[in-house]
């Protein structure tokens, strides 16, 4: 299935949750609303024509102009097609609906995005830091991140 066909199916079903698309790149992507991700992804996983049962990658993004986002790379083992989804949110409203109920692998990916970017995933069962220590301050992968001076008495920047 091509990206255009998938976009058409989604547009007819979800209407205004689909905000924009970009087809003239190497990997076409579809932008979706941040508060409807779970519904959309459930449909993408369960619909027999699409069957995106495999979430390859979920990456947090900081676009350095006050916009944060999440990029989903979905694949289908059954139909062997792929699609890229994107959602954006602004720095003062860093909330995106979690898809960990749809794909179990999103649990750890979203925890990592929260840990490194500070994006809060609503309805996530267990949103804690994953890679950094539990009492670390700040979100390291942000573009404006300043590393803390001391951690438990140890000097951090060397």
């Amino acid at each position: 299935m091509t990206a255009q066909e998938i976009f058409d199916i989604l547009k007819t079903k979800f209407g205004d949750a689909i905000i924009e698309t970009k087809f003239d790149t190497m990997q076409p992507w579809v932008r979706i609303a941040p508060n409807k991700t779970k519904e959309l992804c459930s449909f993408l996983r369960d619909d027999t024509a699409l069957q995106f049962d495999y979430l390859s990658c979920l990456s947090g993004m900081d676009y350095s102009n006050g916009t944060f986002g999440v990029v989903y790379h979905l694949a289908s083992i059954v139909h062997k097609h792929k699609i890229v989804l994107k959602t954006f949110c602004t720095k003062d409203n860093l909330h995106i609906q979690s898809v960990s109920a749809v794909w179990g692998t999103a649990n750890w990916h979203e925890r990592e995005a929260f840990d490194l970017y500070g994006i809060i995933f609503d309805e996530h069962p267990d949103l804690r830091r994953l890679l950094m220590p539990d009492d670390w301050e700040g979100h390291p992968l942000r573009k404006d991140y300043k590393v803390q001076e001391f951690y438990h008495g140890m000097k951090v920047p060397y």
Binding site: S56, S59, M61, H73, K80, T105, L131, L141
Partner: protein
């Protein structure tokens, strides 16, 4: 004083009562044990917090991040895409060639570079040799986890021969910086073909010996069959990949199903677990998939060596690496542990804007709590070993 973090939910240890035949009641209580970051068999610095009821595991919570080295942040500050290659090496240090290849592939697609055919063939040979070396570590350490100390030394003898081949080519045994964007750092030395063919001839009977010694040993089968069963749908839902996914019966191999390089020209079969000794998806299946895969790797290397064309391996290495603005790509390759993916976003400058490394060990490890519940502590060690994690890739 550093405080250890607490369990995620407000976990109160369950207490119970057992009535004995004499009418007395014995008070029981679950125990929270730490298989700490330093442990002989967690394959690296992984902390597993286990809630046990006697010997049965009630819950298992992995804590990672002890080896986090900020790979993604470093990439954003590189002055050149080529500089990322040594860092990508060090992610999955047991399987460095496949890491480099994945990143180089992603950058080449971004820059729309076509590499010469000789480079493709050599890359396949190196990746398959690396796959054998990585599986040898996995199998050897799995033997140690189950108590058989000898296969580990046998697999390391075989691995030395592969590392000799690598050292002959690029000078390094473990972390190579060999596969560059657009080509390779060195061409194959003149003695490589002969020594590689010797290795293939030497290794085939050794595989059979390893199988007799470890895989079909009655005690080993009893320890690993029907243990840690990962059902097919759970595996796909948790985006498990590599030998773990194939061990659960899913015939999915990225070298065939999302082909890159010259894999479509070579004849080989992805190996799938069939539940020979127990249920499909148990630890024994994952182990035997790795053993069979090593044999297939030998086939691939033979064919690639036979069909190796001439060419200049440095012909297509670009002088300046500057992709277009807002170009982005997600490439997935089949590394020794599963689907290794790199998502690169460029902003038109010489350093990447964002690099996300999707490590297969990271994703494969997230399924551990699901499959370890209900088993015993001795099983947990074997299940964690059969997932074959390398903490460098889990934590990046």
């Amino acid at each position: 004083m550093l405080q250890p973090p607490t369990l995620p939910t407000d976990y109160t240890v369950k207490q119970g009562h057992i009535k004995t035949s004499t009418g007395k009641t014995i008070r029981t209580e679950e125990m929270i044990i730490n298989m700490g970051p330093q442990h002989p068999s967690t394959h690296g610095v992984l902390r597993l917090e286990i809630v046990v009821d006697g010997e049965i595991i009630v819950d298992c919570i992995p804590h990672i991040g002890y080896l986090h080295r900020c790979f993604e942040k470093h990439c954003e500050h590189m002055t050149n895409y080529q500089q990322v290659i040594p860092y990508a090496d060090r992610m999955d240090y047991c399987s460095a060639m496949t890491n480099e290849w994945a990143f180089a592939l992603a950058a080449e697609r971004l820059l729309k570079i076509e590499v010469p055919e000789r480079v493709e063939y050599i890359r396949v040979i190196m990746a398959e040799l690396q796959r054998i070396a990585s599986h040898l570590i996995a199998v050897g350490t799995y033997g140690i986890d189950s108590g058989a100390f000898t296969p580990f030394l046998y697999t390391f003898i075989d691995r030395e021969k592969i590392l000799d081949l690598f050292e002959m080519t690029c000078g390094a045994r473990l972390l190579y910086n060999y596969i560059w964007i657009g080509g390779l750092s060195h061409d194959l030395p003149p003695k490589f073909m002969e020594q590689a063919k010797d290795f293939i001839r030497y290794f085939r009977p050794r595989l059979k010996m390893l199988n007799d010694l470890l895989s079909y040993n009655e005690i080993f089968v009893k320890r690993t069959a029907n243990v840690g069963v990962l059902p097919k749908d759970v595996a796909i839902n948790y985006a498990v990949s590599g030998p773990q996914l194939r061990g659960s019966g899913v015939n999915w191999d990225l070298r065939r199903d999302d082909p890159y390089s010259i894999y479509h020209k070579l004849e080989w079969e992805p190996q799938v677990g069939k539940g020979e000794m127990g249920t499909v998806g148990d630890c024994w299946d994952r182990h035997i998939v790795r053993m069979h895969e090593m044999e297939q790797c030998l086939n691939i290397i033979e064919q690639a060596l036979a069909g190796l064309p001439e060419g200049n391996v440095k012909a297509a290495i670009p002088k300046r690496i500057r992709p277009e603005k807002d170009a982005e790509i997600y490439i997935r390759t089949e590394s020794s542990r599963g689907e290794l993916g790199f998502y690169i976003v460029s902003d038109g400058t010489a350093s990447p804007f964002r690099v996300k490394a999707r490590g297969p060990a990271f994703v494969n490890l997230s399924v551990l709590p699901e499959i370890a519940k209900g088993g015993m502590i001795a099983d947990l060690v074997l299940i964690a070993g059969s997932i074959d994690i390398v903490l460098g890739e889990v934590d990046r």
